[in-house]
Amino acid sequence: MAEPILRTRALGKTYFGRVDTPVLFDVSIEVARGGFTALIGPSGSGKSTLLNCLGLLDPPTAGEIEFDGRVIAERNVNALAGFRNEHIGFVFQFHYLLPEFNALENVLLPLWIDGGRPSPEKRREALRIMERIGVAECRGKAVYELSGGQQQRVAIARAMINRPQVIFADEPTGNLDRESGQAVLGLMAELNREIGITLVMVTHDREVALQADHIYELVDGRICRHFDVRREGRAAVAEAIEDRSCSLGR
């Protein structure tokens, strides 16, 4: 594997409160540059928390994250916000578009945050991305006028506008009907293949996971299994996921 874009060492996360809740333990994974990595596992296994840690949204409480060869020692939330703006795109289960802005404006928001009013060139690029994703005709529409699938595509366009190195997606099809879900997934896989954007996706859908190059399965906050789909073969992995439930004692 080429130098991974993301690597974690003994990552841990505990939510401190009246009762401390440990969520992640000793997670060490690698995310291949330009690859598609899926995080799977039962509800509450910590896959979303891991994704948010990897996406530098939620600081880990133990271990370290290396992003593109740099150890992220930064704890300053504002510096991290700038880093996310430049290098990371997010697509969540809920579209999380801002209802105050129309579709095109939502796509342009990361550019605004980065440096003020986007240039005409950047606007054209935003339209190209929207066209590529099939939502160009929605550009002037209000968010609530869009279908669920369109909203999620606009969110993907927004995640892509700053040409991020990695897009993190948390159940991006979780709120869509099967057909739109398939379309959105197909689109993300395509973008991953064609443009080479690294894709890290949380999903509980094994069909979806099987499209990935690497699959990490979490159980109770620990990495339980790792599949290299290309090396092991899709069919074998599918069978392995299907048949044997992962137990940590394995």
């Binding site: 939620d58 916000a81 996310r84 703006n85 105050e100 928001l109 990361p110 605004w112 945050i113 003020g116």
Partner: protein, 404 residues
């Protein structure tokens, strides 16, 4: 980065406000009404005060330099007569200022002083066609003496010049004695003195006391009353409220005269004005408090309503500082739009009031009355927005993302 430079914060703040237009409209109207009341009150009250002051001292001396013993002599009864020199009871040196020219020169050099002029006052009679009218005679100099009473500006007939045989009459006296410009008259005093004069001009000072005045050249009046000095030096200062300070300053230097600022004889008026100002400031203070509370509550609600948006914005790169600035900017926008609207409303209200009630005074539109409510509303808006701004700053994107 300053809030002015980072335009996206403004854009988002504006969108948040436009999106919640019902709320925005309400709060803008709230601010506008507050500013209108403030502006209306202060413009009206300063207009009223200015008009009262103007009527009191606009065409009168602000400060009198009087003989030192004058006060003792104005006491009741003949007991106040000075013990010596009974032959010149009314006009002795106790009642006059002999070295008046020194005081006039002194005072004119003071930059706070507009004009200082010697005057000679006395009582006399005018006889005409069998009628005898008692008048107050005032000897003045031109132009300062005349200008203190604005006689030149308020002349309604003739030419207001002080030649040796001219007399300037108030409108009341002229009417009572059916005198017109050019007519001759004889002025007499109680010691048998006579002065033959010709009516040079008739003026209208707008007050009964002023229009009962007979004005002639200072030197003629002095000799008419056999005065060695003058009765007083009358002073006008540029800031009428500084008259007592000027009086205090010179009172320390001058031992043989007494300085009497206009405030001394108008204590009730001044107390009235002061309590009016205090009550208007009190009302304005509470208006400001209620504006601030309204802004704080509306923006506070907005900060909760927009949590989701703020979380997303932070996830895609908005810093904590920008997030809080978005709310301060909203406060600024609400404050400025509201206060401009309020100013328009206040002007409308004010002119409506003045026109509707036929008030004898106008609104006073000074930089102070215009800017104070605006500045106060802006400051209140920004201060009130700090709480929601802090909430926005503290919000962690992960809270929103995790809770959906």
């Amino acid at each position: 980065m300053s809030p002015v430079r980072n335009r996206y914060e403004w854009m988002i703040a504006l969108r948040f406000l436009v999106r919640g237009r019902g709320q925005t409209l309400l709060i803008v109207l709230g601010i506008a009404v507050g500013v209108a009341v403030q502006f209306f009150l202060s413009a009206l009250i300063s207009g009223l005060q200015t008009s009262l002051i103007e009527r009191t001292v606009g065409a009168a001396p602000h400060l009198l330099v009087l003989p030192a013993e004058r006060r003792a002599r104005t006491g009741p009864g003949p007991a106040g007569s000075p013990p010596r020199d009974t032959g010149r009871l009314l006009h002795d040196e106790w009642t006059e200022i002999h070295s008046w020219s020194q005081y006039v020169l002194d005072l004119r050099r003071d930059p706070r002083v507009l004009r200082a002029a010697p005057v000679a006052n006395g009582q006399g009679f005018i006889e005409r066609g069998g009628a005898v009218v008692a008048v107050t005679v005032k000897g003045l100099t031109a132009p300062d003496g005349l200008d203190t009473y604005r006689i030149r500006a308020r002349t309604v007939a003739g030419t207001p010049e002080l030649t040796s045989d001219s007399v300037l009459l108030g409108r009341n006296i002229a009417r009572r004695l059916t005198l017109e410009v050019g007519d001759k008259l004889t002025l007499r005093n109680d010691r048998g003195g006579r002065l033959f004069l010709r009516v040079g001009a008739i003026y209208d000072l707008g007050s009964a006391a002023g229009n009962d005045l007979v004005v002639a050249a200072l030197d003629r009046v002095r000799s008419f009353f056999a005065m060695q000095g003058v009765s007083a030096v009358e002073v006008q200062v540029s800031d009428v409220f500084a008259a007592d300070r000027v009086a205090r300053d010179y009172g320390r230097q001058y031992e043989r005269v007494r300085l009497q600022p206009w405030q001394e004889n108008n204590r009730e008026l001044l107390a009235g004005l002061r309590s009016q100002s205090v009550s208007s400031v009190t009302i304005q203070f509470f208006v400001i408090v209620s504006i601030s509370l309204a802004i704080a509550s509306v923006l506070g609600i907005a900060a909760v309503q927009k949590q989701r948006q703020l979380g997303i914005l932070k996830a895609i790169g908005t810093t904590d500082r920008s997030a809080s600035r978005i709310f301060v900017i909203q406060g600024l926008l609400l404050g400025s739009v509201g206060s401009l609207l309020g100013l328009a409303l206040g002007l409308l209200l004010g002119y409506g009031f003045v026109a509707g009630t036929g008030a004898a005074f106008g609104l006073e539109l000074s930089v102070h009355t215009l800017l104070t409510p605006i500045v106060l509303a802006l400051v209140a808006a920004v201060v009130a927005s700090t709480l929601p701004a802090r909430r926005a700053r503290r919000l962690s994107p992960i809270e929103v993302i995790r809770n959906g």
